[in-house]
Amino acid sequence: MGERQVEFRNVSFRYQEDMPWVLKNVSFTIGPNEWVAIIGHNGSGKSTIAKLMNGLLFPQEGEIFVDGMKVSQESVWDIRKEVGMVFQNPDNQFVGTTVRDDVAFGMENHGMPRDLMVERIKESLKAVRMEDFERYEPHRLSGGQKQRIAIASVLAVSPKFIILDEATAMLDPKGRKEIMQTVREVQQERDLSLITITHDLQEVTQASRVLVMNSGEVWMEGSPREVFSSKDHLTEIGLDTPFVSKMADHLKAEGVSLAREPLNHQELLEDLWTSRSNM
């Protein structure tokens, strides 16, 4: 339960007493400045983890610690200052009539002084490269721009953890790229841990660690390279693997030996050419 960490300790959760467990005895830790991707198909418990992390839900069994505090009814407001969330639908998370009002909303809730708010609005809009849109009405923005504003609103409160819960699922490819680039930049510049819940395998390859969820349990945990090298296990639970992983498998079947589990085209091609000398 160290500082700047999220820790799940034997957490079980169900929505009602006569309903099946959604999470079963889940334990993991997310460290400072880590980027953890959580994958698993619908109903595997991914989003429940996110909601437990900032006290939208509370577990029936086990304990959750955020930045040294135990998540409970009493601590929930302090917790939410540290854990920011961005959801899937860009149209469901706006409250302000202008971009700046919207970014201010979260800070107002935390009772920040006005001067600090003005400063933070500027700063966080700049971080997501939307500084020219301060006076815009949110409904005039594209989906990708809306999600960047949602990220700015979260950054303004200066949390230690940001959860993106399928935040790119409803965007077009361009919007998706914008968001992921923004997220990478923000994470490099600021001291914060990222938790992305996603189906997008490209996104997963960029994380530092992956948690694979299946029927409410942590099914696998490791670096993207480790996780994708056990493809058979992933297919077993109905998850897809990236194109390069599949290609690498078929190349191996042809007798090509590759030095590592490739995460992108570049790595696969490099290793393929290195392997020529061994043929």
Binding site: N42, A169, E254
Partner: protein, 290 residues
């Protein structure tokens, strides 16, 4: 049904300060029974285009022929009702349009409005839920108690129950998980074949365009930018890049292999296993010469 657009333009709020030309001089034709993907960025005119396919919008200039129906700029279209019965449109997030008390009633709403008799409606409901793989026991449930993927299937069943000859799909898999996406796309592929439909898919996914369509139309700023078979279109990497569109991953990979390592493999729709074989042969061949 054969579909053709002749010099079609569409202008929103003409002769006002907000005038906006969403489509500009569009001409193309689609043969009955083909599966066409329409690709383009947000704002390229895709939605405007498909709204004219069932007469929700009338062209400002030019004319459109859909089977025996004609939409002509400046003229009132006859028998729009008949057109709408035959062109089924699955809009984005169609589950947002569900409203009835039960799944069965929601599916029946369309055909009922068009005066289809009760026995026939019941038959069509059965057929539609079979096609969309919804279990029969859901029929008497409220559509709002279902999962997102199931709700979408209910909405699609409602369109299918109209027995359309043309199916227009506006990003039908948006927001679903990968497994749900594949299930829905495979379902449309089966329907297309079994019923001999003319299918028009609006999509951002180059992978889906490559996997399912036999013809692609790319829109850019209200005009047709490129048109052709998937293989023809996706070979034009530079042209696509110019309008910030990607190519399917497999073609991007092969292009990279050629550009950076001089290994040329022509893409003819091979699967990954075959490509791996060809790639191995090429690489081995190269090293034998050294």
């Amino acid at each position: 049904m054969d579909i053709s657009f002749e010099h079609v333009s569409y202008i929103y709020q003409p002769n006002s300060p907000f005038e906006h030309r969403a489509l500009n001089d569009i001409t193309f034709s689609i043969k009955s029974g083909s599966y066409v993907a329409v690709i383009g960025h947000t704002g390229s005119g895709k939605s405007t285009l498909i709204q004219q396919l069932n007469g929700l919008l009338q062209p400002t200039e030019g004319s459109i022929q859909i089977g025996k129906y004609k939409l002509q700029a400046g003229e009132k279209t006859k028998n729009l009702r008949g057109l709408r019965e035959q062109v089924g449109v699955v809009f984005q997030y169609p589950e947002h349009q569900l409203f009835e008390e039960t799944v069965a009633k929601d599916i029946a709403f369309g055909p009922h409005n068009f005066g289809v008799e009760k026995m026939e409606i019941d038959r069509r409901i059965k057929e539609a839920v079979q096609a969309t793989k919804l279990p029969d026991e859901l029929l008497e449930r409220s559509p709002f108690d279902l999962s997102g993927g199931q709700m979408r299937r209910v909405a699609i069943s409602g369109v299918l129950a109209m027995n359309p000859e043309v199916l227009v799909l506006d990003e039908p898999t948006a927001g679903l998980d990968p497994r749900g996406q594949k299930d829905i796309m495979d379902m449309f592929k089966d329907l297309h074949k079994e019923k001999g439909l003319t299918t028009i898919l609006v999509t951002h996914s180059m992978e889906d365009a490559l996997a399912y369509a036999d013809h692609i139309i790319i829109l850019n700023q209200g005009e047709i930018y490129r048109e052709g078979t998937p293989l023809e279109i996706f070979k034009q990497h530079d042209a696509l890049e110019k309008v910030q569109l990607d190519v399917p991953e497999v073609m991007d990979f092969l292009r990279r292999a050629k550009k950076e390592y001089g290994v040329e493999i022509e893409y003819r729709g091979q699967d990954i296993a075959e490509l791996a074989k060809e790639l191995t042969l090429k690489v081995r061949g190269d090293s034998d010469h050294e």
